[in-house]
Every structure is written in C-alpha cells, then in structure tokens.
C-alpha cells in the first residue's frame, strides 16, 4: 500500500510518500513535448507523482533550433548528463563521477544517495545531480566544523581524514551556485527519511518566491531525511501530481527535457 499526501509551504509543493513507494525512471524517446511525454507515461505506468530528472546537454545547433522553432526537439538530440538506470539497465546518460546520484537499490524499498555514478544494479537511479544531504551529512556553500577542529581545515572542497570527525556540513559548488540564485529560482528535490520511512518530493516553480537552497535543506533536515538531492532546477522544474501539473517547465525547456522521475 502506497500513500502520497500533498501540501504547499512557502511557494514549495511538498509531496510525502509512504509505504512501498516505487521510483521509475522515464526517458523520452519520441519527438514530443516533455509535458505530453509525462502525461502519456503516467497513464501507461500508473504513476501518481512525476518530476523532472537529469540535466540535459544540447549541441550548439540544437540549442539554436530550440530558440527558433516552437516544436519539440527530437529526443535523440537531447543528451542526458549522468546515468539513468531502470531495472539494472542503463537507459540513458553519461558517466558523471564528480556529481551525485539518487537511487532505489531494491524496488519498493528505501532510497539512497551518494557521490559518483549510481550502482548499475539499481532498481532505478539518476546521476549527475547536486547533493543536499548525503548519508546524514548536510551540504552547503561552505565546509562547517565543530569546535575543536585542528588548524588548516579547508573552507571548501574535499576534507582530509583528520578533519572529517569535526565536519558538520560539506561544501559543494553546485549547491553554492543554486544558493546564490536565492529563493526565486525553480527547484526540484527529492529526499528519503530512513527513520520515518518516508519519501519527500519538493518542487517550486521558477520565478516565484520560495525557499532558497538552505531553506530546502532545512525542510529535509527537519524531517530527519538521511539522503536528499537537487535535480535539474530553474525553469526545468516540473511537478505532476495526482492528474495535473502543479509546476510546468519553461517553454524552451519543455521542448528538450528528456528524463523524468516517476513515483507510484
């Protein structure tokens, strides 16, 4: 039995999923708008919630075509960054070792997140994304340490073993960049609490006032979330819930976004 509930807080939609929530990766393969693709997949796969997924790269010519034409880009022209895995198979995407992944190792069980590519045997996973909380450690614009940390602890970047016991927040460039964009930039994030056995899906439309990256992290921390990540943000943010779109992508993004993450 799976249950999803919905609330709106500070411009951010918060979907909570309990029970045997299953994550299903969706990769567009036809020449169709991203929102049309989601609506079609929802019906086929019986999904309750869908958000946008991986970052997408375009060739220079394709990016100009998106600006010039008012039509969906052929799916083959969109190149997902980071691996997209479903049922132990690589559906799309490229290796993205310096970034993070969010995965469901066993279908219908708990979710996890980590640095680098997801496990190739995952039930479902998405890579190439930014961290919020990884194995209980919050991420932010700077490294933060407990009192008593030895001199020389780096303010940003990788932390040597001798400083790690004092680390309470790890820095990340992607997180810092998103934080610098403030509360009005669109955001899509997912997180999972092992204690509550609950999945949290947060989405905010681009251009509306809402929480900044730190505020999103606070929501996850307040809900005892162990692992959380940002997916593609800004006007890529998309949220489909219970039969309708609560957040729609920008007009241009709708033409070339390709990877969505569904839940049921």
């Amino acid at each position: 039995m799976t249950t999803f509930t919905y609330s709106l807080s500070g411009g951010t939609y918060i979907i909570e999923g309990t029970g045997s929530v299953q994550m299903i990766m969706l990769v567009r393969s036809r020449k169709e708008y991203f929102t049309d693709f989601i609506e079609r997949e929802v019906k086929v796969k019986g999904l309750k919630v869908v958000v946008n997924g991986s970052f997408i790269d375009l060739s220079f010519a394709s990016s100009i075509a998106v600006r010039l034409r008012d039509a969906a880009l052929d799916a083959s022209e969109s190149m997902p960054l980071g691996e997209v895995i479903q049922d132990g198979k690589l559906l799309a995407g490229t290796s993205s070792t310096g970034k993070f992944n969010f995965s469901q190792v066993t279908c219908g069980k708990k979710f996890s997140a980590g640095l680098g590519n997801p496990s190739s045997s995952s039930c479902s996973a998405v890579g190439g994304i930014a961290p919020i909380i990884i194995d209980g450690l919050p991420y932010g614009a700077q490294n933060v340490y407990k009192a008593g940390v030895p001199i020389g602890a780096p303010p940003i970047g990788d932390v040597d073993a001798k400083f790690k016991p004092f680390l309470t927040q790890k820095s990340n460039a992607m997180f810092a960049t998103l934080l610098s964009r403030g509360g009005t930039v669109g955001k899509t994030s997912v997180g999972y609490s092992n204690i509550k056995q609950k999945l949290f899906i947060l989405s905010q439309a681009n251009g509306l006032s809402g929480f900044d990256a730190n505020g999103i992290r606070t929501i996850f921390v307040g809900n005892n979330v162990n692992n959380a990540v940002f997916l593609d943000c800004s006007d890529s943010s998309t949220l489909y819930y219970d039969g309708k779109f609560l957040v729609r992508p920008g007009v241009d993004k709708n033409e070339f976004l390709t990877v969505a993450v569904g839940f049921k």
Binding site: D57, V66, I156, D158, A173, A176, R181, S234, D252, K253
Partner: protein, 147 residues
C-alpha cells in the same frame, strides 16, 4: 580613411567576430571541484550548474572583453593593413563580410545562451577561494557548451 571609419567599417565587426570565435577557457579547481568559464581578458560567461543549458553571464567583464577585442583589432588593422586596401572596393566587400560574420555570431551565441541566462555584475567563480588552482587555454568555436 579616418580612424573612426576604420573602426566602424572593420574594427567593430572584426572584434565582435573574434570575441565570439576565439576566447580563453579558464578552469578553476580546488581539491575535488572545478568550474569552467570563458572570456578574455576576464571570464564573462560560464555554463551554470543550476539547470540544463543555463549560463551565468558577468556583465562587467563582458563589456570590457568586447572593448578589448575591438581595440586590439583596431590596432592590428590600422598598423598592418595599408590604407589603400581598406578604402578600396575589395575592402568594402570584406567589411560587409566581417559585419555579417560578427552580427551572425552574436545572434547565434545570444540565442543559445538565452535558453536560461542569469546575469551577475562581475564574478562568476565566487565560490572558489583565492587558493584555487587556475589553468587557462585557448578555445576556438562559437559559444561554450554545458560543463
């Protein structure tokens, strides 16, 4: 042919073309993280890690870079190309081609970068400390790609 005529006929368009085709790629890295930005002498645009096909554009460096390129082109054209060639009919044809190339490059890059732009006044890499390692290399081609 006056300096102003050379500037309007050749230097501006040549500077624009050069700015969009030949630039410097700066890679800033600190420990396990890095970012790339483009522009010379200052980095003025960079792929953003916030979203797909998003770019950060630094307005101050962008203006300075354009002025720098136009100035360098003006000096090169004024010193290296005889006035007789510049004022000939062939020179006018070259001027038209340069303007087509310059404006065309500007329009195409603007279209690509404007998919999801974000403007800042000056600094693109404020996350990285002064201790970050910086490497520089030439980059030839129209517009930067995603990171």
């Amino acid at each position: 042919m006056t300096n102003l005529t050379v500037l309007l006929k050749y230097s501006l368009s040549a500077g624009l073309s050069a700015f969009f085709w030949l630039t410097m790629r700066t890679v800033v890295s600190y420990r396990d993280e890095l970012m790339m930005s483009y522009g010379f002498p200052f980095s003025c645009f960079a792929p953003s890690s916030v979203s797909s096909m998003a770019y950060d554009l630094a307005v101050g460096p962008f203006i300075i870079d354009i002025i720098f390129y136009v100035l360098i082109c003006h000096i090169i054209i004024s010193l290296a190309i005889p006035k007789k060639i510049l004022s000939s009919r062939g020179g006018s044809v070259i001027s038209i081609l340069l303007w087509l190339a310059g404006l065309g490059s500007m329009i195409f890059v603007s279209m690509a970068v404007s998919l999801d732009p974000h403007f800042v006044t000056w600094t693109l890499d404020s996350y990285f400390s002064e201790n970050a390692k910086r490497s520089y290399n030439f980059y030839f081609g129209l517009g930067p790609r995603a990171q």
